[in-house]
Amino acid sequence: MDPLPERDRGLSVVSVSVRFGGIAALEGVDLVVDPGEIVGLVGPNGAGKTTLINCVGGQLVQSSGSVWLGGESLDGLPPFRRARRGVARTFQRIAVFPELTVREHLFIAARARRRGGARWSELVDRGRPDPDESAEIATTLELVGLADRADAAVSTLPLGACRLVELGRALIGRPTVVLADEPSSGLDARERATLATVLRTLPAQGIGVLLVEHDLPMVSLVCDRVVVLHVGRVIAQGAFQAVMADPAVRRAYLGQVA
């Protein structure tokens, strides 16, 4: 597939394959997330969803294929450079900073994503948010519903709140695309509602979302489009209802249940 048509778009993954030893975790996966679009990525366990997100985030280097963001190739860039270019993500196995507070998480992310430690003054400054950053942090805290726990160390928060911290950390600093890896696992009903609300505010800001999710009602609620991955291949994509009616998809899911 020629990457050129996607030039002015958000995220585009072009025939990406990943092999671990002899096992193919992804095979020729194509996927596009336009700005302001929420794309659901579903599939049984081991389908390769996390592997795909790792390829976009830079945590993993694909065996072949390429990843583009806003018409520029991300291939060969380390994760931190991709983050500064606008790729944000959460982790299936959470990767928070336990000793730091929620507010510190957001501060670090806001500052690192914007200017990435390139200034000498950061060696001697006071490590406090400037007014712009403070405003951004306050907005994000409200958005993910953690304003009342902003100064708690993250190690004292339950798993659900930690996932929201990761989401906030990903959203701050206006990324181009957000990769959310099973953000709702471990969340209670209220936190799930918050999550859905947060996700639905993103398209208006032009942020694209790739949402990996097992909670199908949530997927049908927030996603514009769904991509189904099975054993490393895209087996269906399109509107939620249509995709779920696809016999191949039913087989993939039922096959796993049985």
């Binding site: 985030g57 945590q59 380390p78 994760p79 931190f80 983050a83 500064r84 944000a88 993500r89 982790f91 196995r93 959470i94 990767a95 928070v96 900073f97 336990p98 000793e99 730091l100 510190e104 501060f107 670090i108 992310a109 500052r111 690192a112 994503r113 990435g116 430690g117 950061e122 060696l123 001697v124 400054d125 006071r126 490590g127 708690a152 160390a153 190690s155 004292t156 990761e166 950390r169 990903a170 600093g173």
Partner: protein, 667 residues
């Protein structure tokens, strides 16, 4: 052919001992997840016991049985049962620090027990070293060479029989994947772990005893080299392949034999490259082998349930108590300084000055280990670079010692930054191994030159001259003030960085490199920065140390100091600047107090043993035992005084952490 063989054959016995220890390393690492540095010391303990017993007139076979068959496995069993088994599988730093502490403590313990007199090596076990038993392509093979080969072959047969047979191998694999998972599934892995520890300790003991007749006298340093050579061999097998490790060990011995044969004794290759071969090999393998780098990524599937160490109590104690303690602390510090300047006798003033200088060096460990979460085993080498640069400049070029100290610190900084470059993608264990290799490389191939570490008899280093004040003549108290001022400046510098944006980035990187990089923090830049800064601090401290002592020699900053430094700082608390200062002062004070003890007890070894034992609590109290006690007493005080404090979240975390300790992997 015969020249080739006559060079290669003498390398074989060395190669065999490397191979045996390498096998032991791989086996324990595979089964228990512990990378046991202490094997070098365990080999030494067996060798020492063997030598002592033979000196007492005990028959060779009995000495061998006691030292290798009884003592070595017993030691392994004790280390497993009372130490490593209590450390969570995922706590890399704790495992590393504990192994280093054992490595440092064991030789000191045997030396304390039996004295450090020179011990001449007994002859080989059952063959005659002087007799030629057979010819291989007309190259004579003597008893020593034949004997090590026979013993190694026998060991290999036994090991492969044990591993090949039974379900032992399978259980071993499961234990490597996740001891905790194994426990959840109700499989008792205790016996497997014990067996692996005892077996591999026996190997270490055997290698130790086989190495004895290779050298005229028993020297611990040869066992440190044995360890590194075995590390390199194990690295050849990616720390996973026993056969490759075995082969690698023997090859390494042969290559060393060939190198020492073909390089003429006077050439720079012979003096410079030859002793560096195992360290260079280890360093190159660590940097280039992807699989070694990935060691850190093989995570326990049930990880993440270990809570982080608690926040320092100083951050969370109640405001009232905080005020009192800070005031008290300052008063104490002022009183100590005034005392040193007035009534404290000269030798104690000198000791405390040394403590201040050590504090500067130890701050470098606060940076690397406390702030960036990596264990570096070459901080003494950086201190040495600072010291030797300053000393050489002063002695040969007349550069004032303080200017020399600054240049030395800058030099160490450059070396630290350059050293960080190949290490960028390493963390945890592989990084620690790389720093150890670099330290030993400097010890063996750089510092011994007289242009670097000075002549073996030592370099005379001047005391500073500030204006008309010559700190050499105004006793050491002037120097105390100078050192104190430098320390204060360094402390302020570190605190500024800690508080700055960069400090926050380092907090994030320490807690989760994955998470930190995903928000745009450049881990490489942070790593280079931290290593450069910490090397600079160590270099500055080293230069001051040289000037304080007024004389240094090449061995003053060898790798053993690096290990001891880590152990000492970890004991008092590696996370705080205060911890570094407490470490510096308590290190010298304990040593000075113990020096009043009679005979060998006062020789300094005891202090190292005490600190090492304290460091063994790192798994339980990663914040340092001293910090732990501070928290305990602060909480008590708060309860007695009825002060609410901000420490409720600390209590919560503390109970959580002791909870996991108790029902940890297989405790």
């Amino acid at each position: 052919m015969s020249t080739f063989l006559s060079y290669a054959v003498p390398g074989i016995p060395f190669g065999c001992t490397y191979a045996i220890v390498a096998m032991g390393l791989v086996l324990t690492y595979r089964t228990t997840g512990v990378f046991n540095f202490a094997f070098g010391s365990q080999a030494f303990v067996s060798a020492f016991t063997y030598t002592v017993l033979i000196g007492e007139g005990i028959p060779t076979w009995l000495a061998f049985v006691i030292a290798v068959v009884v003592l070595a496995p017993a030691l392994g069993w004790v280390l497993d049962r009372f130490l490593f088994r209590r450390i969570a599988a995922t706590n890399t730093t704790a495992k590393l620090v504990s192994a280093v502490a054992v490595f440092v403590a064991l030789p000191q313990i045997v030396l304390l027990m039996f004295g450090s007199a020179t011990r001449f090596s007994p002859p080989p076990l059952f063959l005659d070293a002087g007799r030629v038993y057979l010819h291989l392509f007309s190259t004579p093979i003597n008893g020593l060479e034949l004997e090590t080969v026979i013993m190694t072959a026998a060991l290999v047969l036994v090991v492969s029989a044990v591993l090949g047979a039974s379900r032992f191998g399978l259980t071993v694999r499961a234990a490597v994947e996740s001891p905790r998972l194994l426990q959840l599934e109700g499989v008792r892995s205790d016996r497997v772990l014990s067996a692996a520890w005892m077996g591999s300790s026996l190997m270490a003991g055997l290698a130790g005893v086989l190495l004895v007749p290779q050298y005229p006298t028993l020297q611990f340093n040869n066992y440190a080299i044995l360890l590194v050579a075995a590390l390199a061999a194990a690295a050849l097998g990616n720390l996973a392949d026993v056969q490759l490790a075995l082969l690698g060990g023997i090859l390494l011995g042969v290559v060393e034999g060939l190198a020492s044969g073909y390089f003429s004794t006077s050439s720079v290759w012979h003096t410079g490259l030859l002793p560096a071969i195992p360290f260079l090999l280890l360093a190159i393998l660590l940097v280039t082998r992807g699989r070694l780098r990935a060691l850190e990524d093989t995570e326990d599937p049930l990880a993440g349930s270990d809570p982080p160490p608690p926040v320092p109590i100083a951050v969370t104690r109640s405001a009232e108590l905080d005020r009192v303690i800070k005031l008290g602390g300052r008063a104490l510090a002022v009183a100590a300084v005034v005392s040193v300047l007035t009534w404290v006798p000269g030798n104690w003033a000198f000791t405390l000055t040394a403590g201040v200088v050590y504090s500067i060096i130890f701050l470098s460990i606060t940076l690397v280990t406390g702030m960036s979460g990596q264990v570096s085993l070459c901080q003494a080498t950086f201190a040495g670079i600072g010291a030797f640069v300053a000393a050489q400049l002063a002695v040969h070029h007349g550069v004032p010692i303080l200017l020399g100290a600054v240049i030395g610190a800058l030099g160490a900084m450059v070396v630290g930054a350059l050293g960080a470059l190949p290490a960028l993608r390493l963390r945890g264990l592989p990084l620690a191994l790389l720093t150890l290799a670099l330290a030993l490389l400097a010890d063996n191939a750089v510092f011994p030159y007289s242009w670097a570490g000075g002549p073996a008899s030592g370099l005379n280093v001047p005391r500073p001259q500030i204006g008309s004040i010559n700190l050499a003549t105004t006793s050491s108290k002037g120097f105390f003030v100078l050192a104190l001022l430098v320390l204060i400046a360094c402390v302020i510098g570190v605190k500024v960085v800690q508080r700055a944006t960069v400090g926050r980035y380092l907090d994030a990187l320490r807690a989760s490199p994955l998470g930190a990089e995903s928000v745009g923090i450049n881990p490489s830049a942070a790593r280079v920065f931290v290593f450069a800064l910490s090397a600079g601090l160590a270099g500055l401290g080293g230069a001051l140390y040289a000037s304080l002592q007024q004389s240094i020699n090449p061995a003053d900053f060898n790798y053993q100091f690096s290990l001891v430094f880590v152990v000492v700082v970890v004991t008092t608390g590696v996370r705080t600047v205060e911890g570094a200062i407490q470490a510096g002062v308590s290190f010298v004070v304990v040593e000075q107090l113990l020096s009043y003890l009679p005979g060998r007890w006062g020789s300094g070894g005891l202090a190292i043993v005490l600190f090492a034992f304290a460091a063994l609590t790192y798994a339980r109290h990663p914040e340092g035992v001293v910090e732990f006690q501070k928290r305990l007493w602060t909480e008590r005080a708060e309860r007695w005084l009825g002060l609410g404090g901000r420490s409720d979240r600390i209590v919560e975390m503390a109970t959580a952490s002791t909870g996991t300790d108790r029902d940890g992997p297989v405790a």
